[in-house]
């Protein structure tokens, strides 16, 4: 057996309030695909960030080709031959494909100028590794490409550095089936070239198709290690490792499900087509699909942020047409954004201020910030207590809290508004496992109190476990519906299969 290219030993890492990793050891060899699996919040991303030098481990060591390394900056790991493809794109939309591929290491002529011709040629060469190469013009602006193609560029960028270790963090999140196949071929090519690949995913199908070995992380620890790819059930068992019935709140009984809160018929806009759906009181509806399938667009349309321009939306029996989030909130809709830091929190304000943001927004501007027609600090504090938010004080800046507690503060924002329809986008992204169950139970409690809930998540087990019904989207349309208990396979298939799109 070849010696490992990367060896991580006894890695421990804590964040304020959370132990993200405890004594994790991990290795990957040249020419193999090592799958790193685990639920959201199991510690996969943290481990990778330690590998690449974004974070520093509290304890443990990283060895590259047998030598201990200490990267203090991602650039250092990049120079050492470790390329990481992050979930968040790091592409510059205003620059061309070629410029992005060679960002920071452009080929130069002997006069020191950028060799545009060579850059384009090399870009073509790198892109030729990918089946999508034909579609990608190195001179196109990245901003003009669709999400899947951007993903390819992102991967090509990592590959083009000549890295010996490539880390792919859920690379298929935005890809349809055909594109996934292309990606798998690419991974195979890289493996044949002797590149060590760390492949992060929680999709069993990809593990079966690609992986040579599997490491399962759970709650910041290695839950299992497989030197050959086992049956998916074994991986799932190691990944979840607990009684699912307890982890997710029980589904709604038929008595709990009431009249439709929301009905949408034939609605659409420039990104959504022919949308029809119902959400009933007491029901949690999951919305699955790959990135770019239009799930967020649908949420934003319902929420008035980028409204429908056709079709009919009924909320609680009345026809509505929300043109702004404010109008939607007045109408009884709430939304928890997916990018907590970017779209959810006001980071420099206190926990209490974050919880009271919406209620204050609907009280008169000139009324007291502590007690007014809509909001009351005492009541908010009680609510925060009730939700068991852990903070030194509710006057503390919210940025110091853990993700789970931050998310709870946003939930608290909506609780005081008593919305009829609540939309959760990626409700547990970046939240540690212990807090996740709390969020699921919270959602269920809200539903029991009569709200309809629409939940968008890229975490399929979550959608399956937490929702009473699952709708699948693809290319701006709702293409399938599954009852509670559908299999991951079926949903993935519905979300990614090639379809004839009616013009």
């Amino acid at each position: 057996m070849t010696p490992p290219v990367i060896e991580m030993k006894g890695i421990t890492k804590s964040f304020p309030g959370v132990r993200a990793l405890g004594d994790v050891s991990f290795e990957v060899r040249a020419g193999e695909v090592q799958a790193l699996v685990g639920e959201n919040g199991a510690g996969k991303s943290t481990l990778i960030k330690i590998l690449s030098g974004v974070y520093h481990a509290d304890a443990g060591e990283v060895r590259l080709n047998g030598e201990a390394v200490h990267f203090s900056h991602p650039v250092e790991s990049l120079h050492a031959g470790i390329a990481v493809i992050y979930q968040e794109f790091s592409l510059l939309p205003e620059r061309t494909v070629a410029q992005n591929l060679f960002l920071g290491r452009e080929p130069r002529t002997r006069f020191g100028l950028i060799d545009g011709a060579r850059m384009r040629a090399e870009a073509r060469e790198v892109l030729s590794l990918f089946a999508a190469a034909g579609r990608i013009d190195p001179d196109r602006m990245v901003g003009e490409l669709d999400v899947a193609t951007q993903q390819v560029v992102e991967i090509a960028k990592a590959v083009s550095t000549g890295a010996r270790v490539v880390v792919m963090d859920e690379p298929t999140a935005a890809l349809n089936e055909a594109e996934c196949e292309e990606l798998f071929t690419t991974v195979d090519t890289l493996r044949e070239r002797g590149v060590a690949i760390i492949y992060i995913t929680h999709r069993m199908r990809e593990i079966t198709r690609l992986a040579d070995r599997v490491t399962v992380l759970k709650d910041g620890e290695v839950a299992a290690r497989f030197d050959t790819v086992p049956a998916p059930e074994a991986i799932v068992r190691a990944m979840v490792g607990r009684d699912i019935a307890d982890f997710y709140a029980p589904p709604a009984t038929s008595e709990e499900i009431g009249e439709p809160v929301l009905s949408v018929r034939g609605a659409g806009n420039d990104r959504l087509h022919d949308i029809g759906l119902d959400v009933r009181a007491g029901e949690i509806v999951g919305l699955a699909g790959i990135q770019g399938a239009g799930r967020v667009a649908l949420a934003m349309a319902l929420f008035g942020e980028s409204p429908f321009d056709r079709g009919e939306v009924t909320l609680n029996g009345g026809t509505v047409d929300f043109r702004s989030p404010r109008a939607a909130i007045t109408g009884g809709v709430g939304l928890l954004p997916g990018d907590r830091k970017g779209e959810g929190l006001v980071l420099m304000q206190s926990v209490r201020d974050n919880g009271m943001l919406t209620s204050r927004a609907f009280a008169p501007l000139w009324s007291s910030d502590r007690r007014n027609t809509r909001a009351d600090t005492t009541r908010m504090d009680e609510l925060l207590d009730h939700m068991e938010i852990r903070a030194a004080s509710y006057d503390q800046d919210i940025r110091a809290l853990s993700g789970g507690n931050q998310q709870k503060a946003i939930v608290a924002r909506w609780l005081s508004m008593r919305p009829k329809l609540l939309i959760f986008i990626e409700p547990t992204r970046g939240i540690d496992v212990n807090s996740k169950a709390g969020i699921y139970h919270l959602m269920r409690d809200l539903a029991r109190e009569g709200a309809g809930i629409l939940m968008i998540s890229s975490d399929l087990p979550e959608v399956i476990g937490a929702a009473d019904r699952v709708l699948v989207m693809q290319q701006g349309r709702i293409v399938a519906e599954f009852p509670h208990g559908a299999s991951e396979q079926d949903i993935m298939h519905a979300a990614t299969e090639e379809r004839e799109v009616a013009a």
């Binding site: 790091s90 510059l92 960002l103 003009e144 990626e426």
Partner: protein, 328 residues
Amino acid sequence: MSIAEDAAPRKPGFRFERWAPLILLVGAFAIYVGIALGTDQAQYLTFDNLIAILGRSIALGITAIGQTFVILVASIDLSVASLISATAVLASVVMDGSPAMILPAILAALVLGAVVGLTNGLVVSGLKVNPLIATLGMSLIIQGCLSAFVSNFAGEVPAAFQVFAYGEIGPFPLALIFLLALAVLAWAVLRFTKFGSDIYAVGGNEEAARFAGIKTGRIVVLSHVICSVCAAIAGLYLASRLRSGAPWIGADGVYDLESIAVVVIGGTVLAGGRGGVWGTMAGMLIFSLIDSVFNIAGVDSFAKQVLRGIIIVAAVAFYAIRSKRIVA
């Protein structure tokens, strides 16, 4: 998952932002021609006159080229006006009428510019001081030091150096050709060098640039140095044009705010990462044309100010109104 992530890709082909400066420029020129013909003053449409218009705002143009670099890296420089005064005075004092001192004077001015730019850049990228505040502070410091020592025109520029502002090559003023050359050089730097590529990267997404191994701090500092050196050149030009340097010439020309306005009207966004030198040149020409239109239409100087303010806002709105981003 952000709102943007789910966004549809932009349509390739016609890109409004790219052509907007040209549209504005053509519009301004059309107004100029219209006014000249409408007021029956066709003599303003001669070749000489057009050259005169091109040459109106050389100092502003040189400064704005530098300002383009800092705005592209998402910084800004409010110290250019004071620096223009300082370098004009310095050059004029060092030359002091002696042709032999021209070279040392030019060097001294450029070195002063480089040092100021270096300081600005280090304060912005090292101490993380907001560039607006850092360069405003720098501006006050320079102006203070300057007026502490000089209160009037100081020194004298020898005739040989006045060629810079007054020389002509054929029908074209030398300074105009210089400006054009500088613009071409700036364009080439932005287009063909790694440094230029890094500037767009740092301005577009500093995080991504850093992850790609670009030393972002260095790029910010260098851009500031370029900006300040351009201001120093503008100072040299003004010293040559005014035959001497005085501590108020930069502030009188409002080169700080006007250079920013020119860059922004030229389509470079204040947030950085998008834009370029030719837009800035178009912005400068628009300013010159507006000035000339006011002159030939005989607009009252106070009304002129009112119109100028409105035009700046309207021109920027011309781009901005299409964006969906929340601005503050």
